[in-house]
């Protein structure tokens, strides 16, 4: 129950940023379209697929712990971590690209086209939202790693798999946040223009 309550606090945490996003998108829709066009559609999509797969392996891992398959559990947890690392790697590629293109807000920011001010706001939200998401991913990867270690040591089985389940919940939640972020950040302009 504790994990569920914690996840509710996480919803409120990200909710603040989603609210800011909604407000600014309503006010400056064109700028958001323009900003979204600068996102790399393919990297974003690949990352989404990666995370969904990682949730699958996480769910299978939980199942393994419930039926006492220690080896499968460890392997699945490690694969989940690997998927997480792939996600982080892709984000690193994207972030580097954005940085080089002067798409990090601040004195370095530069945007060709009308209304650069509000495109900067789009990017502020992009960096903040994906940044916090990535932070949560990182924490998740580490925690999954810890659980994998304890699993290897044989700590979990059909009579005690609570921590695996809880970590699973956390992982799914972080995945869900991305499922919301992805269309809001990557898919605006494609919806608009095709």
């Amino acid at each position: 129950m504790g994990m569920w309550v914690f996840l509710i606090t996480e919803i409120m945490f990200f909710g603040g940023m989603f609210t800011a996003y909604m407000v600014y998108r309503y006010m400056y829709y064109q700028a958001f379209v323009a900003g979204s066009e600068k996102m790399d559609f393919w990297w974003g999509t690949i990352n989404t697929v990666v995370l969904i797969c990682s949730s699958l392996t996480m769910a299978l891992a939980v199942r393994s712990s419930q039926i006492g398959q220690r080896k499968a559990l460890v392997v699945l947890l490690i694969i989940t971590m690997l998927f997480g690392c792939v996600f982080m790697g892709i984000k690193a590629i994207e972030y580097t690209g954005h940085w080089k293109e002067h798409q990090f807000p601040g004195t370095n920011f530069h945007f060709e086209g009308p209304d650069p001010q509000h495109v900067e706001i789009f990017f502020s939200l992009y960096w903040a939202m994906t940044g916090f998401h990535a932070l949560h991913m990182l924490i998740g990867i580490i925690i999954v790693g810890v659980i994998a270690f304890y699993s290897w040591r044989g700590k979990y089985g059909p009579d005690y798999y609570n921590p695996v389940e809880n970590v699973g919940l956390y992982w799914h939640f972080v995945d869900m946040v991305w499922i919301y972020l992805y269309p809001l950040l990557y898919l605006i302009s494609h919806k608009h223009g095709g």
Partner: protein, 542 residues
Amino acid sequence: MATSPTPAAERENYLNTEYGIRSWLLTTDHKRIALLYLLLITFFFFIGGFFALLIRLELLTPAGDLVQADTYNKLFTMHGQVMVFFFLIPAIPAVLGNFLIPIMIGAKDLAFPRINLFSWYLLVIGGLLMMYTILTGGADTGWTFYPPFSTAFAKSQVVTAALAIFVAGFSSILTGLNFIVTIHRMRAPGMTWSRLPLFVWANYATSIIQVLGTPVLAITLMLVALDRLFDFGIFDPQRGGDPLLFQHLFWFYSHPAVYIMILPGMGVVSEVVSCFSRKRIFGYKFMALALIAIAVLGFLVWAHHMFVAGISLYAALVFSLLSYLVAVPSAIKVFNWTATMYKGSISYATPMLYAFGFIGLFTMGGLTGLFLAALGVDVHVTDTYFVIAHFHYIMVGGMVMAYIGGLHFWWPKISGRMYPEAWGKLAALIIFVGFNLTFFPQFVLGYLGMPRRYWQYSPEFQVLNVLSTAGATILAVGYVLPMVYFLWSMRYGKVADENPWGAAGLEWMTASPPPIFNFDETPVVTWEAYDYANLKEVAVEP
């Protein structure tokens, strides 16, 4: 009651079960953690109080002649931040709640004892960050951090202050989480929801607010920090940002936050009033529902802090209406406490004096809320001393009195000793007088038009300011007294037995101080809350 009780030192209890600093710093016993919190927040109370004294000293004269303007701006900012986040929000839940909730529901400890300890450490870390902020000059944005001043103009320790509060916020969230799970899952057999003491209900409602509201403050402060550190411009109108968005996000937490502060106080008052009237609280169901109603409705009124901020007329109407709705359950509580006293058997012990003070002062503070919710009046008095007086009546006249009263009430349980009753009464009286003298003149100042956060002011406001400062010095004396005699009592106070007040509640059915796992065996509850009908009369000095 014929033989004197065994002094705590001769019996194994949570205080003497282990000695040494490691046993305290690595404890997972909710009772010890409660005392760790007590130390921490008392420290911050005096820091915040010290800033308040400096503020009031400066305001003795209309000119700014004690400190410089920038320093004054830092003083009121740090006073607010320290008091709100490092004293008021944790106080009752983390000290009294932590200590009492498991015992009141018949459990051995909280659901997550290690997270409980972690919460304390989070507050320590936040506190260290806050001390760092103070020692390196402090922030000067006001406790409300409004941009674009806070993001683009303030040349002070805004980021570290925001970080400190961010960390403290997570302490609050985890405490709330712990309480919710504990109350749901760990009640003793027979302890149904409708048998819970109202103190538990109050902390439950508070925890819901903590869990839902605090994360929004966390992200809002993070956005301010990002804006300052990386020049994001998210709230900067020059860059297309919206300063009003910040205000909405900030108040979405900070209004419910005031209910985080007051609801536990209401819980304490319910316990005290029923005990010292020897009566079941009047209208138990309504009291519990009122707590939940305040918690829920409290989330719907945030923009009443923004009536002149530039929100639309229609938004203002909606929020004014909702603000009146949230006043109703609070009124219900005041009526119920009063009704509890009717045909009771009333004792004037110190905790009850604090309860009287709470009811009176909270009523005044709450009633002035009606003034503020009235749009036409609010336009004149918002951002003036009227608001300052309003919230201090509720937070200091209400919450702090409830907290101190609660400390007195449960002191025998916590320490195994009685505080000296005569001094207790004296301190309560001094606090009551000092408080009113400090803050009542501020209502007048506010209506006259003295704005808040003013280092220097127009000379015609001086007389009222002098009265207020005089009150503050008296109040300070009143606050120091309990510190002194509580400490004194730990060595020289009368040894307390299990139930010196003859009160109802599971906490009074175990030793004072309690054993490490609270009860010798898990209680099985077969009676309703506030079962004074069946409790033996105890001769308490009235």
